[in-house]
């Protein structure tokens, strides 16, 4: 997923996961799994305590959107909270 210099030593064999093409395959496999899990909501009747858990795709939506926002807001927090590594040692 990263573009990075190859630091494998001379003669060291690349593994399956080292090929960028295979990382892409993993990603699309994940997309397929998610789509399959989402489609189960069409057939599965969920009991709901609050009235929204049985909505189509609620858990998938919640699981995707909130962590997405979490990472972006944590990244923004870095601007305020991040200091040099030896900040407390000085």
């Amino acid at each position: 997923m990263y573009h990075h210099p190859d630091r494998r030593a001379e003669g060291e064999k690349p593994n399956w996961i080292d090929h960028p093409g295979n990382v892409r395959k993993v990603f699309w496999a994940l997309v397929v799994v998610c789509a399959a899990l989402l489609s189960l909501d069409l057939f599965l009747h969920k009991h709901d305590k609050f009235g929204f858990e049985s909505l189509f795709g609620f858990f998938g939506f919640y699981g995707f959107v909130l962590p997405f926002l979490l990472v972006l807001s944590a990244k923004a927090l870095r601007r305020i909270l991040m200091r040099d590594e030896d900040y407390y040692d000085r």
Binding site: M1, Y2, H4, D6, R7, R8, A9, N15, I17, F27, L30, V31, V33, C34, L37, L38, L40, D41, L44, K46, H47, K49, F50, E53, G57, F59, G60, F61, Y62, G63, F64, V65, L66, P67, F68, L70, V71, L72, S73, A74, K75, L77, R78, I80, L81, M82, R83, D84, E85, D86, Y87, Y88, D89
Partner: protein
Amino acid sequence: MIASIPPGLIMIIGAVLVPLLPSRVRGAYMLALPLIGIWQLFSLDPGSYGQMTLFGFDLVHVRIDKLSIVFGAIFYIAAILGIVYALHNDDRTEQTASLAYMGAAIGATFAGDLITLFVYWELTAVTSVFIVWAGKTERSYQAGMRYLIIQVLSGVLLAAGAVVLAKETGSFAFDFIGIESLGGWLVLAAFGIKCAFPLLHNWLQDSYPEASPTGTVFLSAFTTKLAVYALARGYPGTEMLIWIGIVMSAWPIFYAVIENDLRRVLAYSLNNQLGFMVAGVGIGTELAINGAAGHAFAHILYKALLLMSMGAVLHRTGTAKGSELGGLYRTMPWTTGFCIIGAAAASAFPLFSGFVTKTMILTAAAAEGHLVPYLVLLFSSAAVFYHSGIKIPYFAFFAQDSGKRPDEAPPNMLIAMGLAAAACVGIGVYPDPLYAMLPFPVTYVPYTTEHVISDLQLLMFSALAFAVLQRTGLYPPELRSTVLDFDWVYRRLGRDWAVFLAERTGNALRTVYADFGGMLNRVIDAVFHYHGPKGLLARTQEIGQATLVITVVLAIFLTAFYL
């Protein structure tokens, strides 16, 4: 005979011998102590032991019931795993301190009154600080000092609360306490410090990552879960704890995302998992208390496993920082595999331990109609998968290749990780033995189609979000950094103020001293002027001169009186 020794004391007394033994037999000796302990625990019948009367108060040294057994048992198991993991480490300080620390935590779990609890409570503080110091760096020394101050403060609050409670109720018994009285609040503050409540939490993230690779594994299991036990004993159903718990479950996650030191990431995620347990205690129904106790059990195992895997990385490469690691799966495949199992258990994947315990707390929150807590805990569950489940294994073992090719972890570390991993899977696949140990009868069924599908949807979409963020380059890279947390208030702001005040006070004192000294000098000068060796009143006079002066004085008096 052995039945009359209080649980925990076997390890505390046993620790005294550790420094005297040759290193060949020390490992086997240390391992024997918790094994004897766990055998003893299960040979004792539930009930109270070691009762005595002190100054008219009844003290109960050992109280064995379902709630204390589940915590006592997992503490012994964690002790065994930690000792196996540390077998290669020949540091007598850490070995002695860790045995005594674990024994103290177990002793506290079985304490039937607040005085006994206080004694063991303080003992966990003063023994564990040596584990932090065994990191043997300047940073670990400093962090240890801060840790000690905060831990001892917790003990002082507990002692004060116990005395106030005894005045109010006439008893030191450690049962339901509640927050109806001042004593209840003091004891809650003491428990809250050790449980790393929000704003009281920084000692945890500050000190645990500074200990040695083996020391952190010991530390992670006991102090905070002892506090969860104490809360479950003293404050079940206290609604405030639900809100404290959900803040705890969500807040540390933001730090876990951007923190670079992977052991510190795990310390933040430890804090976040404690939030689930505290919320469970706050909900207070039988299902929720079962969930809190069961989750503590499962959590100790997978958190220890994750810290063991990061400890192995630190042991082999000398660093646990995400920015310096990557690509280690090539030469540390076993550690990678065990780490992924721990990550799956922490993320509550079906068939792993976190799933069968954490969902109890979520179900309990929903059953009681706590809407906001339920949504926050659900968010935290999805986010745990982020920082514990993906970030830890990804940045250590995959991500960009760091070029590091360390050896696989030593055999004893692999055995400890293997045992912990087996337990994580075992509990997840077959939770009945754990359920049978929980404080209340369990009717909860974890593996329903609905639970499994909902959980998988939540987690897989969370993984998808991570993958999308990575592919689009939005995911923040690991950077060498310090991320400021609330401890900035006392480590920087407080320190700067203290320095400022000390300087100002010093200046003021110097000025006062200089002024006062000036005045004093003038008095001394004046005295010296008249009475010094050359002073007017100290001069040696000739006798004739003196006679003349006396004659003149007498003449003046005579004239004055005559007139």
